[in-house]
Symmetry: C2
Subunit: 503 residues, 2 copies
Amino acid sequence: MSTKEISRSLSNDFFSQAASFLNTYVTRDHSDTPVTRLSPPEDLKSRFAEAGIGLSIPDGQDAVAPEELLQAMRLTLDYSTSTGHPLFFNQLYGGPEPAGIAGEWLAVAANTNCHTFEVAPVFTLVETEVLAKLARLIGGPYSQDHDGLFVPGGSIANIYGMHLARNRADPAFKQRGAQGGPRLVAFTSEQAHYSYRKAVALTGLGTDNLISVACDADGAMSPASLQEAIKAAEQEGKTPFFVGATAGTTVTGAFDPLEPLSKICREHNVWLHVDGAWGGAALLSRKLRHLMAGCERADSMCWNPHKLLGMPLQCSVFLTQHADILRRTNAGGAAYLFQPDKLHAEYDLGDKTIQCGRRPDAFKLWLAWKAYGDAGFERWVDRADELAQACEIRIKESGGALQLVQRRAPFNVCFWWVPAQLRPYTPEQATPAAKDLLSKVAPAIKELMQQKGDAMIGFQPLGSAPNFFRIVFAGAKLLQDCDLDALLQRINAYGQQLFPAQQ
Amino acid sequence: MSTKEISRSLSNDFFSQAASFLNTYVTRDHSDTPVTRLSPPEDLKSRFAEAGIGLSIPDGQDAVAPEELLQAMRLTLDYSTSTGHPLFFNQLYGGPEPAGIAGEWLAVAANTNCHTFEVAPVFTLVETEVLAKLARLIGGPYSQDHDGLFVPGGSIANIYGMHLARNRADPAFKQRGAQGGPRLVAFTSEQAHYSYRKAVALTGLGTDNLISVACDADGAMSPASLQEAIKAAEQEGKTPFFVGATAGTTVTGAFDPLEPLSKICREHNVWLHVDGAWGGAALLSRKLRHLMAGCERADSMCWNPHKLLGMPLQCSVFLTQHADILRRTNAGGAAYLFQPDKLHAEYDLGDKTIQCGRRPDAFKLWLAWKAYGDAGFERWVDRADELAQACEIRIKESGGALQLVQRRAPFNVCFWWVPAQLRPYTPEQATPAAKDLLSKVAPAIKELMQQKGDAMIGFQPLGSAPNFFRIVFAGAKLLQDCDLDALLQRINAYGQQLFPAQQ
């Protein structure tokens, strides 16, 4: 049998069965399936080995039969965490959306690359149109002109913002490098995403030159503190060049006040980038877009439709109001790829990027936008806010068993389950022993949930607040109020079981 | 209708139709379909608009009916370049492989993220096992210990290599940044991928500090030139820290001589990174792995299974022989994600990365490896080499119509179609007028091919060589010798049509 025949026979027999199985998986009803089937790594390895398709790939791996491949695919999904389950609240993504999945499957089947128009004509135009739509949503200067890209994740998008800012502040940077240039310093809030720390470590700015700005009680960057930090840096002879604001912080969901921040940035000629990976979805809602007011004055922003809009991972947008800046900053002009003497070369997007190949991540969002329309997307975003409000009310009415960590932002609710002996829990008056006990509660409840497989929710400490639960509504469009009740009831039941009231 | 109901009805009706249509697309026979349906951007926009689903997303976009979404999906694929067609030779990818597509569709359906074990238990273990298999294939120190990640593309993989090297050469770099540190310089060959230039621009090293090393006549880096370049830099008080070698250059497919390069790097305490994005596949072939000899001494390497192995885009591996170095270099320790007090936290891969979220790109490769085994993968790689040899013979036997640009490397063949009046074409003796005419040939033939839609092949100039065709065998496993004949016959026929012999 030739290799061609081997490949073809897999294509026609195996592939159709795989597609049918995956169709069933995507369209399944979650009510009978667990959120997760917790298995320690060694158990997982045993299960695959018992099915005749071990997880390791030994030396001299033989080809296995199509039936075994299908069995391996079934096992993989059986033991994968079901991020589409209504009771998956663990991450800022979930509830993948069928038009998005169909769009992504199409992109996989087409297997091409958004570097040149000739290999991706439709995907190139779709990316351009989706970016134009988003730019109009932001408004202000963005409606006039903009530049942008879909990139592999919000962390990379934040790197793009910082990179453009640096080239503007120090035009010789690209050629000369950081050495011998101005002593640049960047600013983010103490609750900004950790990707900024990674970005300064990667790009040779150094973590010493990333200045952490204090937040107000809600977790939003304080404009007065920013003003002060910039002035202090200037007095030390440093050159402030970048402020990384956040629209929807990772833990508490706070929105930095973009209008006052943009005013300060203009005064000091500093690039304002808005990390809206999570909260950027507020732009889609007439009710919530006030949270993004001032965003149109930002030099750049990012937004991850794979988060609150439930597009399949990854779907991340980087946008800037500065036309043609990406090509000017990043172009490498590779002669083998961006030949000026080929047809429609002026539509090629690839030389704008720091990558070379790039997946057509815009297509799934385009298809979903056509499927649901502006109004559909708006309802999803508003639904996340409604659920957060409903959650807040339930916490306040829980009689002290559940307690808010702080005032809520639209899409996140942070709370403790408080053991009976610590109620009422007053953070300011809590003893070290009380905090120590409370820090053990969320991990223990979560572990029991994972063992039972009936819900997943994240926890973390923040500042002086010991481990607390964070509920996020990435899959809000699929959620009913009863799903929220189910989660809170489970937390309460498992809390009582693990931390019974002392007699 | 609630948003949940809207979403569900799309899921069950629309999604299954979409899945069925895509299944048909993936398993289709290409013989009746064009490689590309060339349409200028304005024509494409008209076609979508006529079908009732314009490419732009207007203000107040309405939800469109599922039938229109399906029609839009059909149009998208009709007007997408068919990279799976046997006569698509345009890029270093193509011929997507059914087990790979099935694996990728599964990953999309699972919609999770390889940052933590708890949300991606199987995918995390699969990534770890595939990396271990690749490390054993490399051999040497890699069999003992290694570290690695799947990353979004070879360009990003090269950035990883340079970043680790820099932190080793300058341990204070992460905190202090580039300023005030040693004057680091990096070396790549003049035929290395352009991503290195992007990498030094991004990471604050600066293009001035990327030194271009001369190649031999085959396009491989000259060890003597590297030795000289390193010594010259040292004499100027600079600190050489990184050599970016290439295994399979983009245009000519040359393999840098890794053993002598690794010896020089050890002598000067310089990190050797091997960009094997294209040629790394040689490791899978007993016949060809000699080309990678010395790779096991490299500090790090990358390989893109989405290239010669036909995995769906993207599938890129970064590997290093230095255990645990990724976490030590990149960890941000975000408390909301990498909680040490959750189950199996020691398996989390996410803090090794410069991203936060990361797609489970290893899974498709794992599934395909199980499907075809070591021997199947080896046959695909050997087949690419066989086809390149067959192509070279045809060119040599073409009586001067086709002419090799230079000696061939295993997976690439570079050649001109020479108009009759320029035969025999001798590069050394060619007049400027002859070169000027020859530079117009490949673009014109390619344009006609695109208009007819019956083949696609890339071209580029290189050094003093005017535009020539580059044939690459990314989809080799699907190719028969007659496909190669069809391509060369078309090039010849279109050449004669466009550049007829002068009377």
